[in-house]
């Protein structure tokens, strides 16, 4: 009688493929330009700054905390007003204290989430919209000259929207008591990041 094999075939195969996955391949560097470069550049722009990321996630978190209809009004309002700010940035219209405004956005929105602040919807929309102008201005003004403007705009709007969705997804935990605490802790963390950036700008 054959001895039953002790080898787990799927597991072995998986491990082998895992090893294959980590094999180093030659990097095929190529110049990034044109349509794809514009999209990549725009998509990565909101993801390369912690101040941007925390504020975007905070918008989603706060929206989820406030519940329907704020949960979807805020992520609809934010990109449109942000694009308005972006347009001002592109056209070279100066807005004072953009970086400070961005840092403040993380601080204030983080505090709103941490303390579960529940203002009327229009107040929340005005707060979020005001900060959106600063974020948009930074995106517009910092667009690389080599990038394709059209795909840059599409990329950064999509990245911003996805960050909101991350915030909303995390914020949906508020339906459980432990989740509510977790979301509020997230708000504290965002506020601290915002405070750090604000402190940095003030002391610089």
């Amino acid at each position: 009688m054959n001895k039953p094999s002790t080898v787990n075939r799927p597991a072995t195969l998986s491990l082998l493929l895992l090893g294959l996955w980590f094999l180093p391949l030659t990097a095929s560097a190529h110049q990034e330009k044109g349509t794809v470069w514009g999209f990549t550049s725009g998509f990565l722009h909101p993801l390369t700054g912690l101040d941007h990321i925390t504020a975007m996630v905070a918008v989603g978190l706060w929206g989820a905390f406030l519940g329907v209809p704020a949960m979807w009004v805020l992520p609809v309002v934010f990109p449109v007003v942000m694009a308005f700010g972006g347009a001002l940035g592109v056209l070279g219209a100066p807005i004072p204290g953009v970086e400070t405004g961005i840092a403040l956005s993380s601080l204030i929105l983080g505090i709103c989430v941490a303390f579960a602040v529940r203002p009327p919807l229009w107040v929340a929309a005005v707060i979020v919209g005001t900060f959106a102008i600063f974020h948009g201005h930074a995106h517009g003004a910092e667009m690389p000259h080599a990038a394709n403007a059209m795909t840059y705009a599409i990329g950064f709007v999509i990245a911003t929207g996805l960050l909101h969705l991350c915030g909303i997804a995390f914020g949906l935990l508020v339906r459980w008591p432990w989740g509510k605490k977790l979301v509020r802790v997230g708000g504290v963390a965002i506020a601290l990041v915002g405070f750090g950036f604000l402190f940095h700008f003030i002391s610089a």
Binding site: S14, V90, L91, N148, M150, A153, I154
Partner: protein, 203 residues
């Protein structure tokens, strides 16, 4: 090993294979697919067209119950006329802000989920078809090549809008689905607004 674990292990190699890094083989989307299919893919290679078509498709699909006939009839007819006009050489290009402006309008309508007045809806589709059609002139080739490419573009435009409308209409049952469509509308609006600003800066 339980059933779930074995299923995971069975699919793990496939997932890992899909995640294998490979060298990029950059090429244009249209090259090598022939005149007709090159035409079909043409609307997808122009970001402004994509933005406008997305707006139109979602706007159409957002309306419950789905009524494709009237708006699509306008779109199909006017786009055919506009593509035909490109062969005369009377209109070389369409100013990008016009196409983006229409995308902005479509995005706003989707974001606000405005019940459409018939004339707004048909007017938007007519203008969009005219703008995209006139902006899709075939720059190289003669005779049959041009005809095949334009026929492909016309087919592509219709397929894209009709498909987008059909699949968007599948996302109208639950409130969160409708919200998702409105968020998409706000993204189209935002991107269009930015692109308009870029166009203004360069003008």
């Amino acid at each position: 090993m339980n059933y779930k674990a074995s299923m995971w292990l069975r699919w793990l190699p496939v997932a890992l294979l899909l995640a294998l890094p490979a060298s990029a083989s950059a090429h244009t989307v249209v090259s090598g697919v022939g005149d007709f299919f090159g035409g079909v893919l043409h609307p997808l290679t122009t970001p402004a067209h994509v933005l406008l078509l997305l707006g139109l498709g979602i706007y159409l699909g957002q309306q419950v119950p789905l009524k494709l006939k009237a708006s699509l009839f306008v779109f199909v007819t006017v786009s055919a006329l506009a593509l035909g006009l490109t062969t005369t050489g009377l209109v070389k290009t369409v100013p990008p802000p016009l196409i983006i402006g229409l995308a902005l309008l479509a995005g706003v309508l989707v974001a606000l989920e405005i019940p459409p007045a018939t004339w707004i809806s048909r007017g938007l589709f007519a203008l969009a078809a005219l703008a995209i059609g006139l902006d899709s002139a075939v720059e190289t080739g003669t005779g049959w090549v041009v005809v095949k490419t334009l026929l492909g573009t016309w087919t592509g435009l219709i397929i894209i809008v009709a498909d987008l409308a059909f699949y968007s209409s599948k996302f109208t049952k639950w409130q969160w689905q409708r919200v998702g469509l409105r968020v998409a509308g706000s993204w189209i609006t935002a991107a269009s607004l930015m692109i308009l600003a870029f166009a203004l800066r360069h003008s």
